[in-house]
């Protein structure tokens, strides 16, 4: 299998380079999509299926969709006009940093065993048996709460800067509606399954939210879902629901146990599932609106 790993690593580097050096935007973004999926595959090889799922769905799929949409709106790229000296200096610095990272990495294994024993000792009390979910929603829930705030902040920026009124996507062929009838309910089922599964196996709110967003995007392209036709208030409420539920849970835990985000003993799983439910809906809606954009000022715009 080591040959497979070597080939995969080489393919990742080639795809990464082609994503950053293709002369046309479509080629570059296609390279980036391939790159993301190959990286996700390599993370499965490294026993990180949670991260691989998120990279394939969000890091590669959704980011690629965002890039393609932006590329369609922007003028074609200008040729690079960077002086040779600056190029050489950049190459030297980049090689130095990459080399330094590679060397530093050689004696890293000793340094990573800092948190692991703590996680292992407390996993039984976390309410879930998937250690990644335990870290995200219990031990380091504070990080995840702030992450939701970052998502909301990005949406505010996109809504403020994006073009007014999202254009209707072009009509797709006659087979699209039957496809949608299967895909849209299926995406809700898969999202719910991933959400429930996250407690014990790879999965969780972020993967579920990404799948939900995929289903919503399919509806959007089919013309069945028009975020621009919905008043902005409920949309914002949906997107803020994740932070709101999480913050409310944090404060409720503070009142009940005296510690911020320390869930009451024995009820951890219910708390985590309730928070994750809110997160999933909110992540799905936020990712969709990051793609479609938000019409400013509701009916006024």
């Amino acid at each position: 299998m080591i040959v497979f790993d070597l080939m995969l690593a080489a393919a990742i580097l080639v795809a990464g380079w082609s994503a950053l050096s293709a002369p046309d935007r479509t080629g570059a973004i296609a390279g980036f999509l391939v790159f993301g999926l190959l990286v996700a595959l390599s993370w499965v090889r490294l026993d990180a299926p949670d991260v691989a799922l998120a990279e394939a769905a969000i890091g590669s799929g959704l980011t690629g969709a965002l890039m393609l949409r932006a590329a369609g709106r922007m003028a074609p790229p200008a040729a690079d006009r960077v002086p040779r000296a600056q190029r050489a200096a950049a190459a030297l610095l980049a090689c130095g940093l990459a080399g330094g990272l590679a060397v530093a990495v050689m004696d890293l294994p000793g340094a990573t065993i800092v948190y692991d024993p703590l996680v292992r000792a407390d996993l039984g009390q976390s309410g879930v048996s998937n250690p990644v979910t335990a870290v995200l929603l219990n031990f380091r829930a504070w990080d995840t709460l702030l992450e939701m705030a970052v998502l909301l902040a990005a949406l505010v920026l996109v809504a403020a800067l994006g073009p007014r009124g999202t254009p209707r996507p072009a009509r797709l062929g006659p087979l699209y509606t039957p496809f949608l009838r299967i895909m849209a309910p299926l995406s809700v089922l898969v999202a719910g399954h991933l959400l429930w599964l996250g407690a014990t196996a790879p999965g969780g709110a972020f993967q579920a939210g990404a799948v939900l967003c995929g289903g919503l995007l399919a509806l959007y392209f089919g013309g069945a879902l028009r975020p621009a036709a919905v008043p902005a208030g409920p949309l914002w409420a949906l997107c803020a629901a994740g932070v709101a539920v999480f913050a409310a849970a944090a404060l409720a835990a503070e009142v009940l146990t005296g510690t911020l985000l320390a869930y009451p003993d024995g009820a951890d799983k219910i708390w985590i599932l309730a928070i994750e439910g809110g997160l999933t809906v909110s992540i799905g809606a936020t990712l969709l609106l990051l793609f479609t954009g938000l019409r400013q000022g509701g009916a006024r715009a």
Binding site: I2, A9, G59, A75, A78, E147
Partner: protein, 104 residues
């Protein structure tokens, strides 16, 4: 661990080095490209490279359970990155629009 000059080839080491190389590629293209979209792509590749180093560091070889803490960090990073990318793309589109207007 393994002696430095001739370390045994493990998947962990291979992807570690690939992650480091990705960081180098992304930094170089981020510094030399004059196209905004390529620079945003470079930021994404840079982030994936660092994430690859994290994921490889979390791995303890076949059969052993990997460290979940770096995994959680990378998961958080992926979601934050897509938010940052969407925000940067909105900015880039706006810059592109105003740049096109001033050229007329």
């Amino acid at each position: 661990m393994t002696p430095f000059p001739f370390p045994d080839l493990t998947p962990q080491l291979i992807y570690h080095l690939a992650g480091a190389a990705l960081v180098g590629i992304a930094l170089y293209r981020g510094a030399t490209s004059s196209d905004l979209l390529t620079r945003i792509l470079a930021l994404n590749v840079l982030s994936v490279g660092i994430a690859a180093v994290f994921v490889a560091a979390a791995n303890r070889g076949a059969g052993a359970v990997p460290d979940p803490v770096p995994h959680a960090f990378v998961l958080t990073g992926i979601v934050v990155l897509v938010a940052v990318t969407a925000a940067l793309l909105a900015l880039a589109e706006r810059i592109d629009l105003t740049g096109a207007k001033s050229d007329d």
